[in-house]
Symmetry: C2
Subunit: 268 residues, 2 copies
């Protein structure tokens, strides 16, 4: 088995590469999987993108992202995201669930709204063979991006639904600090809820807005190997996706960053 057999590159890690270039480089380097984002895919054309990756023999490991359930247009937007995931041939739509509504201060109510929204979407997703993967985001995003801050919270929501319809994303960047996360990973694995496993490292200082400072693998504070072992022990055998949002990486040559990411992944 190739050491890259489970590797997937998330499109955002090298967003400077146009989709056809990224696909070409994946084929050249033996990268078997790719995680896609809705905006660049729609720009390229969803059907065209689906054909491009299919013809190249790439697996689409995830589509990012649905969610943001506190916006008025969430239902139509999320149904479209599910349709796009099905067209692209991926079984996993990542959900960034949204934070507080404008002026809101009630995280418990926000989480209840997220649960209700997923209840409306889950059957629709299930009919199309798409699983909704709730991604807990780091608590620093609780107000403005995602009221689901821990893996335990994500599981509490997911467990209202069949695991074939709703699961979770385990992303090291968001969860590494949490001493309860290892037990939650085991619980997620035992109930077949780990729908995606993503790697990014934690580097400081954080940039303004705290969005685009995810560290290249090995540059930061996270014991990534321990996380790989943890999800393996929980029974997860799926793709390992690398998703970095990083202004410094985006300023560099995309092919160089892709090759570096592969080397770092193999070192982990």
């Amino acid at each position: 088995m190739s050491p890259l057999s489970r590797f997937s590159i998330n499109q955002m890690t090298v967003k400077q590469l146009p989709l056809p270039d990224l696909v070409e480089q994946c084929v050249r380097l033996g990268v078997p999987g790719i995680g896609l984002w809705r905006e660049p895919v729609r720009e390229y054309g969803v059907e065209a993108a689906a054909k491009l990756v299919r013809d190249a023999g790439l697996a689409v490991t995830t589509l990012c992202r649905g969610g943001f359930f506190t916006t008025d247009s969430w239902l139509g937007s999320n149904r479209a995201a599910i349709d796009e995931a099905a067209t692209l041939g991926t079984d996993t739509l990542v959900l960034v669930s949204g934070g507080l509504p404008p002026g809101g201060k009630d995280l418990t109510a926000a989480r209840a709204r997220i649960t209700d929204s997923i209840a409306e979407l889950a059957p629709y997703a299930g009919e199309r063979g798409v699983r909704l993967a709730i991604e807990p985001l780091h608590p620093m995003y609780a107000a403005d991006r995602c009221a689901v801050s821990t893996l335990d919270q994500a599981l509490e929501i997911a467990e209202h639904f069949p695991s074939s319809q709703v699961g979770v994303v385990v992303d090291t960047y968001h969860l590494w600090w949490d001493d309860r996360a290892p037990a939650a990973v085991a619980r997620a694995g035992a109930t077949d809820r780990i729908h995606s496993f993503q790697l990014a490292d934690w580097t400081t200082p954080l940039p303004a807005g705290v969005l685009n400072g995810r560290g290249q693998l090995g540059d930061g504070s996270i014991d990534l190997r321990a996380w790989c072992e943890r999800v393996a022990e929980a029974g997860y055998t799926g793709p390992i996706e690398v998703e970095l949002f990083n202004d410094e990486l985006w300023a560099r040559d995309g092919v160089e960053v892709l090759e570096e990411t592969l080397r770092r992944y193999l070192a982990v």
Copy 2:
């Protein structure tokens, strides 16, 4: 009872005011308590600062800060901080415990080191009538400032020691996102471990470095009134300290900021 009877202003909130000016304004406005920081106090002179606040009739609610147990000089530095707290007449030294050692990736080991360090300090503090108050910091500081990220973790450490020696700080800025925090507050109150209660609001976007973006009360996402009720239900009747690190507030006139903070506090 004055509506300000439990209010305390942390010196950092209006760090643009020299200590004598701050003390004078507190007396003028009827502010009964003040939280001090080691650096400006040492600059002014510890004995002189002690006399200044004592003569003004102000209570020193906390001294910030001890901790940073991952540095080589932690023992001498923390003993000095305890001595300074005793001289200033406060019974509470706030601990910011430190993050990972350089190159480290093991938060569990960092927390064990914090526990061991506190074990060395606690009797020394107890002899001087000073309580060590472990402050859990927001998980976004786990790597570089404080490996203690939740109130539960802080309590797990504190509960190794008598509550007269070691307790916790409940700071809304650091804990607001955590759905387990309310139960932890109740547990902390039941064991007489709430040694300080601090208010700050959560505003976004966060600034680079994420240190100096604590929101003025009422400007952000935290239900501060609910937090006040929560600590009251847990039996806490001590000072309510407002500690804001905020570049925008620091750029304004200090007296104006102090008066605004009082108005916001009363509105909560």
